[in-house]
Symmetry: C2
Subunit: 141 residues, 2 copies
């Protein structure tokens, strides 16, 4: 199994595919389940920590209900794997095809996603997304 970076990248992409599909069942299948559900933590952009897998899934239901037709393009995807724990950092380019006069209106967020491997499968325990403010394309580097 080694590091299974391909499986990790696929699990990370599944988060955004489930979001785009508005599919809470796929979201639940991705997140860590019981008996480790207390590990789950989620920060939506501008939000507080949501803690525990039940509250996290409720928060996703709410976010997905209020964000139809969003599309995500991931850039700068980087991974760090250690044993049964892995982190993925990426930038989310968020396209809102239906939003306003510009069909390509977009914003972006920066994200830390944390996974643990349970029975050979990467499960999400942490999603921390934060808004990027200031000039579009601005970079502090």
């Amino acid at each position: 199994m080694s590091n299974d970076r391909e499986g990790l990248i696929a699990a990370n992409e599944e988060l955004y595919a489930a979001f785009e599909a508005g599919d809470l069942d796929r979201m639940e299948a991705l997140w860590i389940g019981e008996p480790d559900g207390a590990l789950a933590k989620c920060v939506h952009p501008g939000g507080e920590f949501v803690r525990g897998v039940e509250a996290v899934l409720r928060s996703w239901a709410l976010v997905m209900a209020n964000a139809e037709d969003l599309q995500f393009i991931l850039t700068d995807v980087e991974t760090l794997v250690q044993g049964e724990m892995a982190m993925v950092n990426c930038t989310e380019i968020i396209l809102r095809p239906g939003a306003g006069p510009d069909p390509f209106a977009s914003s972006h967020a920066v994200t830390t996603n944390g996974f643990v491997r349970v029975a050979g499968r990467w499960r999400l325990w942490l999603h921390h997304a934060s808004p990027v403010m200031g000039a579009p394309g601005g970079d502090t580097e």
Copy 2:
């Protein structure tokens, strides 16, 4: 050495102590160094990813130069340790004693800090802090 949760908590607190002291040498001692400096990633609230330990330390020099007299109170500190990798999630209550008419003016941020253990010592490779918007004390849970 086991999980060394005490050392991890201490390393997490050192980030904020170094920030309060405006001490870039302490900050550098906490962050991962070469040859692993490319792992370093940092998101200041509202910012993009800053990548690589040199750029990360430059960003801290800038942040500390523009944020004198800040004080941090950490709450909801939670840890996850796996082998030589560990994550700390916490809420930062940020006090600005000199800011405006209210000497206790504060804001808060939510943070994911990632550590790796190098030669028995926890070193920071990831700091991802994000602003909490909306009503003070508001919570999405």
